[in-house]
């Protein structure tokens, strides 16, 4: 699965289970989940930017991105002990409340983070060589995007503003204000821009969540063993960093799910690669593949 965005995987799965069993998550847990998911979005995008830039030959953004990603991983580690493969959510809420001082450290990070994005953008966004390598490369038309079931930043770079955080709001997203960046050319450069803007928005969301963070329990009242009703089924999808990540679960009356199917964004987004590559050079392949932003754990299952 998506090992660079574990928190959003967690969130999609527990969301599906909650929907199936009918649990209502307390508001504090919802807000913390939103914070974790958005931090995860930033860290996933940072990893993407780092590798994408180094593929096109720019070394330095790699180190800048990893510097900030490290801080996010530290926050995760402090919260749940793990840095990469988190297991930080439970059906019905969260396993732990925030550690003392975590809010302040998180606030510190998100308040300085926009300056850092500006630093990456200073190196790349208006760089002539960067633009030469990315503008007009690997154009994905909106029709193709829909045909192939492309989601996430790739879809939004092709001019379709579908974002599940707005379309089917979940957790604390209805309570915060944020924009969904949409660009219309569908090329590598626009996909790059969408992700850069999303990082700004993610930082904004985290700040708002921290401001509004309510007091209260972090776990719903729930039986020790969750049992879904016989022949119940549900599909729950959220907006992961790479696109729509969804879980389809059917219950058979026992504590175990009868069936559990994942809809991974990377797998779907990769399908469109042959279309994107038509008429380009081998050297463009790395640029195109870079902005499809795949994780092979999701592709090869």
């Amino acid at each position: 699965m998506d090992y660079v965005a574990a928190a959003t995987n967690n969130l999609a799965y527990v969301g599906a289970v909650e929907k199936l069993v009918g649990l209502v998550v307390p508001p504090r847990a919802s807000f913390i989940r939103t914070i974790l998911a958005e931090l995860q979005r930033i860290s996933s995008h940072l990893l993407w930017l780092a590798t994408h830039a180094i593929d096109i030959g720019a070394m330095t953004p790699f180190f800048y991105c990893f510097r900030e990603r490290e801080l996010i991983l530290d926050l995760f580690e402090e919260y749940c002990g793990a840095r990469l493969t988190l297991n930080c959510m439970r059906p019905g809420g969260l396993p732990f409340d925030l550690p003392v001082g975590w809010e302040d450290r998180c606030r510190e990070f998100v308040s300085m983070f926009p300056e850092k994005i500006a630093e990456y953008e200073g190196l790349l966004t208006e760089n002539r060589i960067w633009k030469k390598r990315t503008v007009g490369i690997g154009v994905l038309s909106p029709e193709q995007a829909l045909d192939y079931g492309v989601t996430g930043p790739m879809l939004r770079a092709s001019g379709i503003g579908l974002d599940l955080r707005k379309a089917t709001p979940y957790e604390a997203y209805p309570e915060v204000e944020f924009e969904v960046p949409v660009y219309h050319n569908g090329d590598t450069y626009d996909r790059y821009l969408v992700r850069m803007k999303e990082m700004y928005e993610a930082a904004r969301i985290v700040v708002q969540c921290l401001d509004k963070l309510p007091e209260g329990p972090i776990m719903a009242k729930r039986p020790r063993v969750l049992k879904a009703q016989k022949d119940s089924e549900t599909y729950h999808a959220i907006e992961g960093p790479k696109g729509e990540i969804g879980f389809y679960i059917t219950g058979d009356g026992t504590p175990n799910p009868d069936r559990c199917h994942v809809r991974p964004p990377s797998f779907m987004n990769l399908q469109v690669l042959p279309e994107l590559c038509k008429g380009h050079l081998i050297a463009d392949l790395v640029a195109i593949l870079g902005t499809t932003d795949i994780v092979l754990g999701e592709v090869d299952r």
Binding site: A53, D55, I56, G57, T60, F63, L124, I129, V286
Partner: protein, 356 residues
């Protein structure tokens, strides 16, 4: 016997220059290259908010020695299906010419001006610039031959790319050099520097366009970022030296850095006044000659080194900043922009010269 030897032409024309060149290489150029690699890693580290080498010796100062030791004792792999003679010859063809060029580069003033018993360079030939250009071109054979002899697709493609790239960029580079030659009315490297003293300004001022073209073409010539396509690791693994290891790889590496220094040195000589201080005829700046050192030769060498280091720093800075061009874009830039611009520059310089 000894007297007979010192008076023979063999001594004067073979042994003395050979000793001079070896001294220059082993005392000057090779340490400079190894420490240039360290400087590059340190500066890149500084740009990229990390430390760079810091384990071997204080501030990693012994790192180059460790690197050289490592490369020397590493296994020297000769691929089974490689074309052996070409595989062995290729690195020598890259390194040799690059080193030979140092013989004509004026690091400091000639004996008469320096007031010392020897010239502050190995030799001054009357077609020095031509010699530099000719020698630099031989390096292409090395890359091409190395790529072809390795019998591997990545090497071959890398070699072809370097050959195409270097040949395309040699044209604007050659034209860019013509500008200062017209101004100096000489092809001797020493005369060109002297002409800048007579003129009272460095040739970068009347020839800024040529300098710019030379610098860009120079970066491309030495296969450095943002024109490091022959070694684009996301496409070609390591380009022409994919199959090389140990000391043979080190030779390619040496060749690349020697080329960087050569290109900087030629740029400094042609455009930045060689060993001269800034504005060599302005009396108010005479303190820049550091008269108290009482050694014009040494001061000349200092100024020359300083200018070279600025140039090399810019090279490294480029590497920390720019993404890589695509191959066809690189060719576009060379053929559609640099060559017409450099031709225009030659034409304009000639016109001004005639009209004066």
């Amino acid at each position: 016997m000894l007297q007979a030897l010192t008076e023979s032409p063999v001594f004067e024309y073979v042994l003395v220059p050979a000793i001079k060149i070896s001294l220059l290489l082993f005392a000057g150029v090779l340490p400079l290259i190894t420490y240039l690699v360290l400087a590059e890693r340190k500066i890149l580290g500084f740009i990229q908010v990390r430390l760079g080498p810091n384990r071997v010796g204080p501030w990693g100062l012994l790192q180059p020695i460790a690197d050289v030791m490592k490369l020397m004792v590493k296994e020297d792999i000769l691929p089974e299906r490689a074309i052996k003679w070409a595989f062995i010859l290729a690195p020598c063809l890259v390194v040799g010419p690059a080193f030979v060029i140092f013989a004509v580069i004026p690091f400091g003033p000639p004996a008469a001006e320096a007031g010392s018993s020897f010239n502050w360079f190995v030799t001054d030939i009357n077609v020095g610039v031509l010699f530099v250009v000719a020698m630099a071109t031989i390096g292409v054979y090395g890359l091409l031959l190395g790529g072809w002899a390795s019998n591997s697709k990545f090497s071959l493609l890398g070699g072809l790319r370097s050959a195409a790239q270097m040949i395309s960029y040699e044209v604007p580079q050659g034209f860019a050099i013509v500008g200062p030659l017209i101004l100096a009315e000489s092809m001797s490297m020493v005369d060109i520097v002297e002409a800048q003293r007579t003129a009272g300004y460095w040739f970068i001022f009347p020839q800024f366009l040529a300098f710019f073209i030379y610098a860009v073409a120079g970066v491309a010539e030495s296969n450095r970022n943002p024109f490091d396509l022959p070694e684009a690791e996301s496409e070609l693994v390591a380009g022409f030296h994919t199959e090389y290891s140990g000391m043979r790889f080190a030779l390619f590496f040496l060749g690349e850095y020697a080329n960087m220094i050569v290109i900087s040195a030629v740029a400094v000589t042609l455009f930045l006044g060689g060993w001269l201080r800034p504005f060599p005829n302005v009396e108010a700046l005479a303190f820049l000659d550091f008269g108290f050192l009482n050694s014009p030769g040494l001061v000349g060498l200092l100024w020359f080194s300083l200018k070279i280091f600025v140039f090399l720093f810019v090279y490294i800075w480029f590497r920390g900043t720019f993404p890589r061009y695509r191959f066809d874009q690189l060719m576009d830039l060379g053929w559609k922009w640099l060559i017409p611009l450099s031709l225009f520059n030659v034409f304009m310089t000639g016109l001004v010269k005639i009209l004066r």
